[in-house]
Amino acid sequence: MPLNLELEKIKDELGDKATDKFLELLLKGMEGVFSASKNKIVSAFTDKFKDYHKNIEGFKGRYLFRTSDNLVAASAIFENGDMDVREDAIDDWNVRITFKNAAALRDFLFSQDQDILNSILANTVEVDGNLNYIYKFGFLARDLKKRLGLE
């Protein structure tokens, strides 16, 4: 899917209703924007994604996202300045995020007046592993949102 279309869909997901595609779109969108921000041709047309890739320079992190019923799983691997998204579960994660549904994950990552603790309070998201990785991911997600003009 072209990046622009993907980003438009992310915008929709961040709006009224998060669908089951939220996680996939977010991770794929992030991956696309990291790639675009390093692309000189894209940078010549827009500075919207400028330096987004700087966020993951030198960063190594392995994230596993899964639903509480274990039916949906996705992984994000950051290494060598790149992000790799996989549609299955990895084992040696730094942090594992188990969420009840797409809306819970969206609120967990993006909601203005709530945040990670709040989602844990509501018992809709459970985080295992190093919490600092989720704080970092929270920034990446919100930075993307800002660049999309939604923050």
Binding site: Q112, Q114, D115, I116, L117, N132, Y135, F139
Partner: protein, 837 residues
């Protein structure tokens, strides 16, 4: 020389000077700004010296780190610029009598990536504009945090180090939030340094002492500790001298002779102290201030408290007054300037943390009055000077705590404490010396040390400057123990398919109330075991990675023992917990005892069903449970209800007291809740007491709101609780209607209510331990919810500390509005409909 020489104890003829008045205006106008100076310097030093890869960070490593920070931070004499509402910059003229600051900002938010600063990471772009309590953070600083600072600490903060070192299963309970909170991931704080040595001998003398002891010992760890002391103390001296140098430079370029003189005064004072002994009152205060900023480089300010300042500084004050070096007006001005400086920073709180801790300051307690080490009245002129400064300033920080010993302290003093409460609406809290000293000696403190207690954070008493009691180590949600009892080891919040603790039996099958009590005790002990185990693990992480050389250098004990405070260097060691939900749990036990087991008017099954359904369809039962005439409620001198409270506090004291702290000493228990009773209340479901889901719990040791119509009964119920079981302090929150008609009569009644509370038993007992007030009308609070801009300085007592009402989250504002309000002239409560959010 008589300690009381002033005629008018109210000092009402003394007003705020123009200087203080201007600074106070700026203080209230300025928004907090995130300061990255400290994390920048700490990160740079840590990376440059390989500290983040070490398996143990020694006290000497840390001392060198802090020396580097102290020697390289900006020496700011006076600030020039801040941000106001809407995050618009504004300039102002700072002419405080004290130079230097906790951060590089006028009102700063210091960051500690070693602790919890990374929780702010997701908010770096939004924190400036968040709805509640925003902090200004510039783009460049946000980028530096994101790219240059935070990434280095992802594997190195306390919580992560504890997780990967010990993989403690107890951490899962902490992360679920509803069981207990732990403060060590954020700080060790919650103690009182010993400033007397720095004031009377100077830091140079402490350096010399450390060097001498280091030369004498052959123990490697002690040698390391004694080498660390001069590092940090030289850093503090350098910081003060760099301020002096800067002030001199500013003076050299200043045309106004008055300003020039003020700058030269600062230069002279900071050039001398804290290196050398203070010669006068202002130098004494400067010593405290400079040391205070240094202590905050080490640990976030969460309840770090200043102790008995009216005692520590009295000799210098007396000498200056007698020699006519200063006037009372100047003394009040100096104290007021220091009060403002003390509040020059606010704690780092992420958005969601606002729900649990919203509106909190740093909870820096100052203690005045009481008795001295010999049991004699210690109230002096400086006590009244501090009271007057507090009355005029009406600030959130410092949190003023007054000690009162019935029969030794004077009536005039007590009346003055009440008057300041009426005039400020919320301060000072009043502590009953007799009860507190009894409690501390029962825990093994010597009588002399117990008499010299200071108040920490909210209300916690520890011997001043020598007891490291870590008084907020654990915040235990007692209602979760009740929940685990009701649901046989499960908790509705975490799901009924998950066994959290152990099965103590389905309460429906219990045939006697004692069976339920036994099950409850077992569940409470489970949480106590888990929370203390985790606290000890976190303590060991502090020992291995975050020793505290600055605090240790300014504390009684470490120098003699040759070890850091975190290793047990203090003269007295203990850890402590505070309990959330005492009255709600006690009233639930009473309801179960009375309704289910004694009257048998409602089966346990039915009660549980009502609780599960949040009393929907059980309205009559809920009404009956909430009616103090039909169901015993703590706070009405009902023997059954008060006995249940007593049983709980005795059981918890035993259970915690059996647990040993990682530093030595045992755990102590207190009952003060900050804003957590509102935060936890918002999370938790209905209780057998008749409290509905998501309603606030009750604060501190206070009885439940609106079920205790008679003031004296309420006070007596609290006063009967055994102080030896409350040694980590209590907060009894009362709300009095300000009566404008006969002010003198109101003050008489006010003082009488305190006397009745502390002298419960007419001298045969110890009386109630602590009492604190809100003296503001119901209508004012309601209006302040609607129009917060009209009430920027409306000060309230939360449960322990003071806060600005406008900064509290809505749930907490409701809790304060709904507290039982008493009309002193009648001694009974004034009924208001519960406030609707």
């Amino acid at each position: 020389m008589a300690k009381i020489t002033i005629g008018d104890l109210s000092l009402k003829d003394f007003k705020l000077t123009q200087r203080v008045s201007n600074l106070k205006d700026v203080y209230f106008k300025a928004m907090p700004e995130v300061c990255i100076e400290r994390p920048r310097l700490v990160t740079k030093f840590s990376l440059g010296n390989g500290l983040l890869k070490k398996e143990r960070i020694s006290v000497l490593d840390k001392a060198k780190t802090y020396r580097y920070v102290l020697e390289n931070r900006a020496p700011i004499v006076w600030h020039k610029r801040s941000y106001q509402k809407g995050m618009l910059p504004f300039e102002f003229k700072d002419n405080s009598l004290f130079a230097g600051s906790t951060t590089s900002k006028f009102k700063g938010v210091p960051l500690y990536p070693e602790f919890l600063a990374l929780t702010l990471w997701p908010e770096l772009w939004t924190i400036t504009n968040r709805a509640r309590n925003p902090f200004y953070l510039g783009k460049e600083d946000a980028e530096e945090l994101n790219y240059e600072i935070f990434p280095h600490w992802m594997e190195n903060n306390i919580l992560e180090l504890a997780r990967k070192t010990y993989r403690p299963p107890e951490m899962k309970l902490l992360e679920r939030l509803v069981f207990f909170l732990a403060s060590k991931p954020n700080c060790i704080s919650h103690t009182i340094p010993d400033f007397s040595k720095a004031i009377n001998k100077g830091l140079r003398a402490i350096i010399d002492e450390a060097k001498e002891k280091g030369n004498k010992t052959s123990d490697a760890l002690q040698k390391e500790f004694y080498a660390a002391m001069p590092e940090v103390l030289e850093g503090i001296i350098t910081y003060s001298k760099s301020i002096a140098k800067k002030a001199k430079e500013m003076a050299d370029n200043e045309a106004d002779p008055n300003i020039k003189k003020e700058l030269l005064d600062i230069a002279e004072i900071n050039n001398r102290v804290p290196e050398l002994p203070a010669r006068n009152f202002r130098e004494g205060l400067t010593t405290i201030w400079i040391c205070w900023t240094a202590i905050h480089l080490e640990n976030p300010n969460v309840g770090l408290s200043l102790g008995r300042l009216d005692q520590i500084l009295y000799d210098l004050y007396r000498k200056d007054i007698d020699n006519k070096i200063i006037t009372i007006e100047q003394a009040i001005e100096l104290i007021s300037c220091l009060w403002l400086k003390i509040g020059d920073h606010v704690p780092t709180i992420p958005d969601a943390g606002e729900q649990l801790f919203g509106g909190t300051g740093s909870n820096q307690a100052i203690t005045i009055g009481g008795v001295d080490k010999n049991g004699k009245d210690a109230v002096n002129d400086l006590t009244y000077v501090m009271l007057r400064a507090t009355e005029l300033m009406k600030l959130r920080d410092p949190n003023l705590n007054a000690r009162y010993y019935h029969g030794i302290s004077s009536n005039e003093y007590l009346r003055r404490l009440c008057e300041v409460n009426v005039n400020t609406g919320a301060t000072p809290a009043i502590h009953n010396d007799k009860a507190v000293i009894h409690a501390l000696t029962k825990k093994g403190d010597s009588l002399e040390y117990a008499r010299d207690y200071g108040v920490i954070g909210c209300v916690e008493p520890n011997s001043n400057g020598r007891h490291y009691g870590s008084t907020a180590s654990i915040l235990l949600n007692l209602t979760s123990a009740l929940e685990l009892t009701l649901y046989n080891g499960k908790h509705r919040h975490t799901g009924m398919d998950l066994l959290i603790s152990k099965e103590t039996g389905n309460p429906i099958t219990f045939s006697a109330f004692d069976e339920f009590k036994n099950a409850f005790e077992e569940q409470a002990r489970f949480l106590i075991d888990k929370s203390t185990t985790l606290n000890n693990i976190l303590g060991r992480i502090h020992q291995n990675f975050y020793p505290t050389p600055v605090l240790s250098a300014l504390f009684e004990g470490p120098m003699d023992k040759g070890k850091d405070i975190i290793q047990g260097g203090a003269v007295i060691n203990s850890s402590a917990a505070t309990i959330i939900g005492l009255a709600d749990v006690a009233d639930s036990l009473s309801a179960i005892q009375k309704v289910v087991f004694e009257e048998k008017s409602c089966s346990f099954e039915k009660l549980l069903d009502a609780v599960n359904k949040n009393f929907e369809g059980y309205e009559a039962l809920q009404k009956r449970l909430m009616n103090p005439d039909k169901t015993p409620k703590y706070g009405n001198e009902h023997p059954l209800a008060d006995a249940n409270v007593k049983w709980i506090v005795q059981m918890l004291d035993r259970a915690f007291g059996e647990k040993e702290s990682y530093r030595g000493g045992h755990y102590r228990v207190g009952y003060w809740t900050m804003t957590n009773h509102a935060g936890f209340g918002r999370l938790m479901k209905a209780l057998p007491s008749g409290r509905k889901a998501r309603e606030n719990f009750t604060s501190g040791i206070t009885p439940v709101s609106a079920v205790t119509p008679v003031l004296t009964k309420s006070l007596n119920s609290v006063a009967t609780q055994p102080p030896e079981c409350l040694s980590n302090g209590v907060a009894l929150n009362l709300k009095y209607t300000p009566e404008t008609g006969d002010r003198e009569k109101m003050l008489d009644n006010f003082a009488a209510s305190v006397k009745g509370y502390v002298d419960y038993g007419n001298g045969n007992g110890t009386g109630g331990m602590e009492i604190q007030f809100n003296v503001t009308t119901h209508d004012t609070f309601v209006d302040a919810v609607k129009h917060p801009e009209k009430y920027p300085e409306l000060l309230v007592r939360v449960s322990g500390y003071t806060a600005y009402f406008k900064d509290l989250n809505p749930q907490m504002q409701k809790e304060i509005i709904d507290r039982t309000e008493y009309l002193l002239s009648k001694g009974s409560y004034v009924y208001y409909e519960p406030f609707q959010l």
